[in-house]
Symmetry: C2
Subunit: 408 residues, 2 copies
């Protein structure tokens, strides 16, 4: 009998996760993950599922009844939206301004749909006028798909405008909110978005592996009225998943990932306790301090200021500085993980994430200080301490403004 | 802004899980689940992934390089096997002797394959002669799919015989080992099985949500030589998953469910520490004691003895006894979860699981004692204490046999 080599229990190093996700988990979430298993049809479990749906509706600001966590990572959430809504022959406009728009195109093709691509410069938000023009050129478009918050660049598109235009042209919308949910406003009911997915490990700061999704009535109607027969995926078929996560009696579909769901319940509870607006404001405050520090060091952002996600800061790597050496040194010497560039931006940018529980002033100061040290040692010329000073100054200004607002 | 009603942290009740899964987790696994997140490309994480693959090869008794945990429950493992191997037009023999064979047929159809169904009585193992005959009648069969251990009945089929027959007829095999892995011998290399999947929450006693899969070289060749273009699922496309879990450099595919993988690593380590043969023997010993007790109470098994899975014991519900009342009382009064019947067996059978960490003498005695009490109160006539006595006797005989073997 084959015996594996000596392997012992795995104990991960304690990192500070300041990349594009996963983010650090609140200890309350970690504790929740360690609770004992119970059955997926246990009345206690069913109660928790109902609470999860309600907490998720709050996070998404929606009253969509079909709002629940899919038992897979964000890429399963994406695929579930496409396989259910896109029928063979459907025309789908996909807005691409980064990696995840590209993945959407893959999904359309594998569903037998016809993608029409709206190309946008990476790092820029999607131009609503371009969508308007493309919909006029393709009046038979069934679906418009776009990424609200591009994880590969940190650009945020105007979801309200894009959804409005799509709806005026009679198209349903698929909206990727993987990196936005919990970090910047995601307002499904206001947007009237039709199919939305996110991930558990970004601004919700839960363990990876779950994808919160939400579907409008219009989306469900399209799934139920499919002309081309069954959804190609058994696991992702909403008609079947509904029997488990829907309003009525629970029917066995698959064994739900119980412990991860415990964690998500706690993570969403933390979000509700803090309050969505407070969470968005916190992400913005820490972004402002980080930005002050990065710019004081002479680093420049990839994304124009108006379209920047506070939770994902992409900056160009300075000339002559080796990407991998910096990231390795931050990881090995300081236990800090930052993100590399993806696709055409590989080796050209860094992505600093301040997501969910990772969005804390201590992490901003730590990152600026460690990055200053590493870049300084590599010969990058910048004034020592200037980055931290700029961040300190930004925080001081915020505190003064808050005190003034309180007095007023 | 919509505010959800008062929701507090979720604390699951402490159950004893003696149904068809999930099973109870060893505290070491729960502790592993609660560790901090790290990045999915972190060198420490990559090392853990390599160890996981090695531990999984031991559990599956295979040298297949492509042996890894898919980031989804067992039903994703099933679908991944079908979408990769079954091309539109392929002929697939599906052996059905329970619920999960039926799900396989669904998968074949959604992949555009042509299913040929080998029907077998629920509760019986698949008759190898029937497969032989069907393959002779359908010499153009590309794939044979069967469930090694039917979770809906507790019947075990002869995987070695079925794989041998399929191979002689030039067909690849897809084998469902969801309920067998870790509980009864699963010998992939000996069987020469081609695509196999399992679940994390049965005899491995880890949290649900992961599907250990393994693919032979022949299976990978078929995926790579697909004539009909891309795999219909982006998420499950082995060509893409390989870039993340394969032998070479790690390429980002999706964010791996880190904490669940920590748990699986620990669960597989526990299995290796115990030793596979010892784990199989333990499952058998506890089955024998449970069987002695159940039969002493006058309950009869659904599955003929030779094909019985020791980890999943299905018995007929006695006449006049209400299924739901018994299960509710066991859950509410004793915190014991047992399994209901599925499909045509709903309301007719109970399924008692002794899987992984749940397979312990204490659980056998507890279940027999609680079941005796509940059935007694409901007017089921049986001698008080006879079930426990029979189990005690079975354990005593095992101890005597072990002592005798030691002396010899």
């Amino acid at each position: 009998m084959t015996q594996p080599k000596r392997i012992t229990s795995f104990h991960p190093p304690r990192r500070t996760l300041l990349g594009p996700g996963p983010s650090d988990m609140n200890p309350r979430v970690m504790t929740a993950l360690a609770q004992p298993a119970i059955g997926y049809l246990d009345p206690a479990f069913v109660t928790m599922m109902e609470e999860l749906k309600e907490l998720m509706r709050y996070a998404y600001q929606t009253s969509n009844p079909l709002t629940f966590p899919l038992s897979g990572p964000g890429s399963v959430g994406m695929e579930a939206c496409f396989v259910n809504l896109v029928e063979p022959g459907d025309k789908v406009i996909v807005c691409r301004n980064g990696v995840f728009g590209g993945r959407m195109i893959e999904n359309v093709e594998r569903c037998g749909g016809t993608p029409v691509i709206l190309e946008e410069t990476w790092g820029e938000p999607i131009d609503p006028q371009k969508l308007e023009d493309l919909l006029k050129a393709h009046p038979d478009t069934n679906i418009v798909a776009f990424v609200h918050a591009e994880t590969s660049t940190g650009a945020q598109s105007d979801a309200q405008a894009l959804c409005d235009i799509a709806r005026r042209h009679g198209a349903l919308t698929i909206v990727d909110c993987v990196t936005s949910l919990g970090g910047t406003p995601v307002l499904l009911d206001a947007w009237q978005a039709d199919a939305t997915y996110s991930g558990s490990q970004k601004c919700l700061s839960c363990t990876p592996g779950l994808s919160p999704v939400s579907y409008s009535e219009r989306a469900i109607e399209k799934v139920k009225a499919r002309k081309q027969g069954k959804v190609q995926s058994w696991f992702m078929d909403l008609n079947l998943v509904l029997a488990y996560w829907g309003e009525t009696a629970r029917t066995y579909h698959h064994t739900a990932p119980g412990n991860s769901l415990y964690g998500l319940h706690e993570a969403l509870l933390l979000l509700r306790e803090e309050g969505l607006e407070n969470a968005w404001a916190r992400h913005r405050r820490n972004y402002e301090a980080l930005k002050a520090g990065l710019e004081a060091m002479g680093l420049t952002y990839v994304v124009p200021e108006a379209a920047r996600l506070p939770q994902l800061n992409s900056v160009y790597i300075p000339n002559g500085i080796d990407d991998l050496t910096v990231r390795k040194t931050l990881l090995n010497d300081y236990n800090i993980e930052i993100g590399a560039g993806l696709g055409p931006l590989a080796g050209k940018i860094w992505r600093f994430g301040l997501m969910g529980y990772s969005s804390q002033p201590t992490n901003v100061l730590l990152l600026l200080s460690a990055l200053s040290a590493v870049l300084g040692e590599m010969g990058y010329r910048h004034d020592g301490g200037v980055a931290e000073s700029a961040a300190h100054h930004a925080y001081a200004e915020q505190h003064a403004a808050a005190a003034k607002a309180k007095r007023a």
